[in-house]
Symmetry: C2
Subunit: 278 residues, 2 copies
Amino acid sequence: MHEALTGAFTAQGNEKMFVIGERINGMFDDVRKGIENRDKSIIQQVAQKQIKGGADALDINVGTARGQAMDNMLWLVESIQEVTELPLCIDTTKFDVMSEALKACKNSAIINSSKATEEELERYVPLAVENNARLIALTIDKSGVPGDVDSRVEMGAAIVTKAMEHGLDISDLFIDPVILPVNVAPKQPVVVMETLRQLKVLSDPPPKFILGLSNVSQSCKLRSLINRTYLVMALAAGLDGAIMDSMDSALMEAGITAEMLMEKQIYCDDYIAAYLGN
Amino acid sequence: MHEALTGAFTAQGNEKMFVIGERINGMFDDVRKGIENRDKSIIQQVAQKQIKGGADALDINVGTARGQAMDNMLWLVESIQEVTELPLCIDTTKFDVMSEALKACKNSAIINSSKATEEELERYVPLAVENNARLIALTIDKSGVPGDVDSRVEMGAAIVTKAMEHGLDISDLFIDPVILPVNVAPKQPVVVMETLRQLKVLSDPPPKFILGLSNVSQSCKLRSLINRTYLVMALAAGLDGAIMDSMDSALMEAGITAEMLMEKQIYCDDYIAAYLGN
């Protein structure tokens, strides 16, 4: 038990948490209008603010914007690439949109996402390998998000196996154990932490672990407080990064402080600025 | 491994975190002056502010105040008992002061603290039993605070054994695995979390675990941020409470949110007020 537990705290090495900015999503009004009006400046400003806040990559989701998903996505990719070389995290459930968007990415890309079904993994893992892209795979199957730890761990193991089969470098694999809103699924925050601990020691090297963090506080009040508190707990349980709002400075500071306390960064008076490279 | 890990997240049951307010300490100027001038109103105001902030007990330490430690402590106990019936946590290294202060406590008391040496445990455990008091025992021996997990776990086991020998109810025992300042001992936050996980499954029922939280940020900038981030991490690792500044509302909110995310309290929009009984 000792080794396994210590592993859970330290196996992630000294890499910084990987922050995928969540804000370029057509579910937000400003971004939706930017897409619909083909107004690059809105999109580019949001991108730059997220980068300034500490994003290491940018999620891109057309959301509910009017128009063709394909056109919208390709326009977003093009617009954002004008202002950054950071990895773009292509967030769509449409395989053809994913495939074309990856081709349009000049720099490294991340596929967001594959479910843990045989059918999806057999499409998305090869797509990642072909495009030299990283892959986010969710512990979701045909029945949806499982409520227990064991099913999530089984799916995580299936994802790792499938990645190995197709020659996807495990360091290019992110597993997302899927956090649900705490107001409707109160047991899930602990279930996800436990899943992280168990999956962390499943393979060596382990894949990386990521969460769509904001989902934990969906429809809650005090969203930022809940998000940053859960980020800290999940990082301590082995999380490597999150799709989250890097413009929320209190959230970033909490995550950076957690990492300093886990000795990923040595304390200095300016450890937050040092982390952000400011 | 599964059971042990799950245990670490859930074995503490549904009890609220136990907050021992740290501010009645002669190291703080206002309290020192209050003691030296025998000005009850200062002391009583600090006590009341801590209780309003969410303290479940009040630590009492004469610090560097001029005068006899015995007289100062007995005066503090008397002054504070005029305004609250909360447990008082008598914080002194002097056995005679501890002994007399316990006698002066009208309500339940906590001994803060015994080291994990045979010599101190043989004095303090019986003192706790005789006075029907709870006991905080530190994982410190003659050589000081050990740097590793294993030594802390061994001391924790020795403390539990000694408590059982003398008939101290394990639910009246707090073990403090001793957090050191992160700026001089950067590995210790992880070591203490790991110690918590391992000690949590050592006995059934387990003792309670507590930390002198503010020590983690001694001489650091951003003390409140570091304190609240570590509180959240340590609660997720099995901490049951802390000696901390209950007047720091951001700290209390972080702890309460962590507990809500661990399902010790069901989410409602007013979960913080509900927790505090406001």
